[in-house]
């Protein structure tokens, strides 16, 4: 298993479905910071707490011009139902086919379990990883590390 990509590494580019009929390319997000939040699965209670908290502090992320992207191996229809049920105001990306390919590229895949790690990245406006964090899979990371990284970009 490759290690989690660390600060100072260019963020590997990817294109993933953001909805049943639209895709998002990371390179198109250049110009503003991007927060990548890999998580194991839609619907699991811990993820709900983590993403629910991030959803509430979105306006604070936006003060830094930052965009939040959630990524798991769940498919687009699952993401759509999940985002609707939780009123998420940010994008969920489906790392579904080939399964977990983007998570693997970031060193954020649990091959033994078949899902993404609970891992966070802050990518700067030029596409460089400026901060990354691997959380124990059962523990919710808060947003404190993200804010510290965004603050350091200024």
């Amino acid at each position: 298993m490759s290690p989690l990509l660390s600060a100072g590494t260019p963020a590997p580019d990817f294109t993933l479905p953001r909805s049943p009929d639209a895709k998002l390319r990371l390179a198109d997000c250049r110009g503003h910071p991007v927060i990548l939040a890999f998580y194991p699965a839609d619907w699991s209670p811990v993820c709900g707490d983590e993403l629910g908290v991030f959803n509430e502090v979105l306006p604070e992320f936006q003060r830094y011009g930052a965009e939040l992207l959630g990524i798991s191996v769940d498919g687009v229809w699952c993401h759509k139902a999940y985002a609707a049920a939780r009123n998420f105001d940010f994008t969920l990306l489906a790392d579904f086919e080939p399964k977990g390919a983007v998570s693997r590229a970031y060193g954020a895949y649990r091959a033994q379990d078949g899902f993404s790690e609970r891992a966070l990245f802050v990518v700067d406006a030029a596409g460089m990883i400026r901060w990354s964090y691997l959380s124990p899979v059962g523990v919710n990371p808060g947003a404190d590390g993200i804010f510290a990284a965004l603050e350091a970009l200024k």
């Binding site: 707490d49 629910g52 908290v53 509430e56 009123n87 998420f88 105001d89 990371p141 808060g142 947003a143």
Partner: protein, 177 residues
């Protein structure tokens, strides 16, 4: 490193217990959150056990996109604080988590001696919305990772939400090494 309370407890906070208590417990909570509702008697229990050795602080972290009444409940708590009744409202809200419609909130304010038309206007005009947002922003920076999230002397408490476990952590924090 464990997440740290940011900013530290200050004059803007709602606190119970002496400012020089050896241990300070901070909760980020949501008045509509069932987990917070279950934590409410736990906090009361440790307050009874530790008495003047504990200072307890509450900051708002309403999960507004999951709990439709949470924002106004938080704003009403802050409105009550403006009238010197924060803790009374805090307790009433946690004891009535199933009745948090605006009309209920205004009725609780009335019971606490707050002018109902002022309380209604406070909600309508969002007089305390910014105050609640400040708490949420501080929660984000403090590493809140769900509701409730607790901090003991500034460090996030990641242990069990059980009175015995919390009490042990508080006693350890209060005891010099």
């Amino acid at each position: 490193m464990r997440a740290q309370l940011t900013p530290v407890v200050g004059a803007r906070d709602h606190a119970q217990g002496p400012p020089d208590a050896p241990v300070t417990l901070v909760e980020f909570g949501d008045f509509e959150c069932p987990h917070c509702g279950r934590a409410y008697p736990m906090v009361k229990a440790v307050q009874r056990r530790l008495g003047d050795n504990l200072r307890f602080v509450f900051r708002n972290f309403p999960l507004t996109r999951s709990h439709e009444h949470a924002e106004h409940a938080a704003e009403m708590a802050e409105a009550a604080a403006d009238r010197g009744k924060f803790w009374e409202m805090h307790d009433v809200l946690f004891e009535h988590q199933d009745a948090l419609e605006d009309e209920n909130l205004i009725a609780y304010a009335t019971t606490l001696g707050i002018d109902p038309s002022w309380a209604a206007a406070a909600l309508e005009q969002g007089l305390f919305r910014e105050r609640v947002r400040e708490d949420v922003a501080s929660g984000g920076r403090s590493g809140v990772n769900g509701t409730p999230t607790f901090y003991i002397n500034g460090a996030r408490y990641d242990g069990l939400l059980h009175p015995d476990a919390l009490l042990e952590a508080l006693v350890n924090a209060a005891t010099p090494e």
